[in-house]
């Protein structure tokens, strides 16, 4: 029994779906952001798996950038949460409801 890349992809898919479900289901904005991180992680797993299988380092470079961008995104997202919190202490992601069109 050898660990083929399919295993990694399956794992990645499972984690991504879990993250997606959480993203659509939870109301607390912080939890929602955490789910986004989960999804990004899942993608990272598959990138690195491919890099290993194809013997190409581009996959790892991609993960590097994903990491950086995830960090930046967390910063901005959390500042949004802080702003939200200033309105009321019971924060729900449904408070961001003016996006339309």
């Amino acid at each position: 029994m050898e660990v083929t890349e399919t295993w990694y992809l399956v794992l990645s898919a499972i984690v991504f779906s879990i993250g997606l479900t959480g993203f659509l289901t939870r109301r607390n904005p912080l939890i929602v952001f955490m789910c986004v991180e989960l999804m990004l992680n899942a993608v990272n797993i598959s990138f690195v798996a491919f890099s290993d299988v194809l013997n190409d380092v581009s996959g790892q470079t991609a993960v590097f950038f994903v990491l950086v961008v995830a960090a930046a995104e967390v910063v901005v997202g959390l500042s949004l949460v802080v702003l939200l919190f200033r309105k009321s202490s019971d924060v729900s992601i449904d408070d961001l409801n003016e996006m339309s069109g």
Partner: protein, 631 residues
């Protein structure tokens, strides 16, 4: 010279446009002179084109002048083009000629009217539409002119619309015409469906290829159209009421031109008539026959000077229909021309009488006007002799021609038609004599002194000159188509190219013709004598049953039908329109609305819903790709 043909409808159109914009400013009487000039110059153009056409050899006398491409939609191709052939030029000649005379007359008649220039705007527009109608080379352009004359007749009949009854008369004319228009349109669609084109030359070429049933249907529908426009049974009810309009209008529209357009249409479509079943063309004749008789009986009992002439017009149009139905196209055109002359003359004369009598129209209040209005009465008498069929005036020759063809026709009871025609001739002579006697002879039944004094006077020259011209024409027009052998048939030979050999041939010996003519003359003279006995010598009592006066109560039957059960039917239709037809529209709107309500959730603004949408979309797309892998 032939290329000038576009001027024929173009010049009155120009007159119309100028008057529409500047008419009020030009004012009386220059607006009238301008309109008359437009109409008269169109007449000159017609004459020039006529001579040009005459100069061509006979085979080429079918000229199409294209003005512009009008409609080009797939296989449906219609040009705005004029068909210049003997038939259309003949019509144009008397339309513009009589029209110009009536324009001249109107300058005098409408003197002092506050809407003077508006009248001439409508008159010019009418002439334009009528010319377009006869000159068109396809059914659609004819229909344009057809509708145009209908609209103008509405405008002109209800010219003095402040009076409610005048406005209603205009409406009645328009609505009744509309029924005919419906027939026209359906027939036009059928023609297009059958041969793929609505040009007259294509119809003439392909008429034989249309199936008999279709041709019959087309002919019947066109008969419906003609019945509406030419005021035959059962759609004649608008014409007597249309006398509410000014007298020049009655002369132009309801004697000389518009009402002849129905007959013209049928003659123009003679290839189709040749291909239709015999009973259909027979129906044309019988409709004309019954109309002629009924209208003549009605005219006998009328007291309004114009109503007599109105019913007389309906009756004479019946003659035209009788002729068309048996294929006597030349005779029909001949009688149309002579009728235009003498009926316009009679109408204008009656207008002169009304004008002189201070707007009095009841003949019982007239009498003894011969000495007071010499020119009017002289010309009116000439018109009377023409219509009564007294030789050598024109009416005799044309009416006799029709009677001859009726006698010689086969298959549809031609002899009976001849009897009806003869009876109508008798009644025509009778009521016209009655009219002349009541108006111009006998005791003066009006007050010539006192506070309500009426002083009848002769009309101004502007009005009498047209009367004189028309009277001369009514005298000599018979020369167009005398029956004394082939060489005298000028009109017959001239019109041949337009008739494609569909003209009926009568196999009657010369002696029979002579005898028939004598019978007709005898009948006419008897009627005149009888009328003289009743109304002049007062030897016998008057026979003026009210039943006849009400035109056999046809009109009132319509009124009660449409007012009573008809009204419920219309209410039902209105309900249907509101609930079912509009219901569809409203349902569409309601569906859209509810769809929108349902989709509102997509724009809730909530982040989660948007994310859900994205995910669902992604799922759909990827799912489709996976599906493709499966299959």
């Amino acid at each position: 010279m032939l290329e000038l043909a576009w001027l024929i409808p173009g010049l009155p159109l120009l007159g119309f446009l100028i008057l529409v914009v500047f008419g009020r400013r030009i004012g009386e009487p220059f607006a009238g002179w301008l309109a008359t000039a437009a109409s008269f110059s169109s007449f000159i153009a017609t004459v020039l084109v006529f001579f040009a056409l005459k100069g061509l050899p006979v085979e080429e006398r079918f000229h199409i002048q294209k003005i512009f491409d009008w409609i080009s939609a797939g296989s449906f191709d219609v040009d705005a083009a004029l068909l210049i052939d003997p038939l259309s030029i003949t019509m144009c000649l008397f339309i513009t000629g009589v029209g110009s005379l009536i324009h001249l007359y109107s300058i005098g008649y409408m003197h002092g009217d506050k809407n003077f220039s508006k009248f001439f705007v409508y008159l010019n527009l009418f002439i334009t539409s009528m010319l377009l109608l006869v000159l068109a080379d396809n059914l659609l352009l004819t229909f344009l002119g057809w509708e145009g004359v209908g609209a103008c007749s509405y405008l002109l009949i209800s010219f003095w619309f402040e009076d409610e009854s005048n406005a209603s008369a205009g409406k009645k004319a328009f609505v009744t015409n509309r029924i005919g228009d419906f027939g026209f349109m359906i027939a036009m669609f059928l023609v297009f469906g059958a041969i793929g084109s609505i040009n007259y030359d294509d119809i003439a070429a392909n008429a034989g290829s249309i199936s008999g049933t279709t041709t019959t249907a087309i002919v019947l529908l066109f008969l419906l159209a003609a019945t509406g426009k030419s005021a035959q049974l059962p759609l004649f009810v608008w014409l007597p009421d249309a006398m509410a309009g000014p007298t020049p209008v009655s002369a132009l529209i309801h004697a000389a031109t518009m009402v002849t357009s129905g007959v013209f249409l049928l003659i123009r479509l003679n290839p189709l008539l040749a291909g239709a079943d015999l009973w259909a063309t027979g129906l044309i004749s019988w409709v004309g026959a019954i109309t002629a008789l009924v209208a003549a009986t009605a005219a006998v009992s009328q007291n309004d000077i114009k109503k007599v002439l109105a019913y007389s017009t309906v009756s004479q149009l019946g003659y035209l229909f009788m002729a068309v139905g048996v294929g006597a196209y030349v005779a029909a055109i001949f009688h149309m021309i002579t009728h235009a002359f003498f009926k316009a003359l009679l109408f204008l004369g009656s207008g002169s009488v009304i004008h002189g009598m201070g707007d009095e129209q009841d003949m019982r209040k007239m009498g003894g006007l011969k000495k007071l209005m010499p020119i009017t009465s002289m010309t009116f008498i000439i018109g009377w002799l023409a219509i009564a069929g007294v030789p050598p005036f024109s009416g005799f020759w044309s009416k006799d021609e029709i009677l001859l063809y009726l006698w010689g026709s086969e298959g549809i009871g031609g002899k009976y038609l001849w009897i009806i025609g003869l009876a109508t001739a008798l009644l025509t002579a009778f009521y016209m004599t009655r009219q002349v006697l009541m108006t111009f002879y006998g005791k003066q039944n009006f007050e010539s002194e006192g506070p309500n004094a009426i002083t009848p006077h002769e009309s101004p020259r502007l009005m009498t000159i047209p009367l004189v011209v028309l009277a001369c024409l009514a005298v000599v027009a018979g020369i167009l188509n005398l029956p004394f052998g082939k060489d005298w048939h000028f009109l017959g030979h001239w019109l041949e190219p337009s008739l494609f050999g569909n003209e009926a041939h009568v196999d009657v010996s010369a002696s029979t013709t002579f005898i028939l003519a004598l019978v007709a003359i005898g009948v006419g003279l008897t009627a005149i004598a009888a009328a003289g006995m009743i109304y002049y010598k007062k030897k016998y009592a008057k026979i003026e049953p009210q039943f006849f006066a009400d035109a056999w109560r046809i009109d009132s039957t319509y009124a009660s039908f449409f007012g009573g059960p008809g009204r419920m039917f219309f209410k039902g239709l209105a309900w249907f329109d509101n609930n079912v037809v509009d219901g569809f529209v409203k349902a569409t709107a309601a569906t859209t609305l509810s769809l929108g309500q349902g989709l509102k959730f997509m724009q809730s603004g909530l982040v989660r819903n948007h994310a859900l949408g994205i995910v669902l979309g992604t799922l759909a797309v990827s799912g489709w790709f996976i599906w493709r892998l499966f299959t």
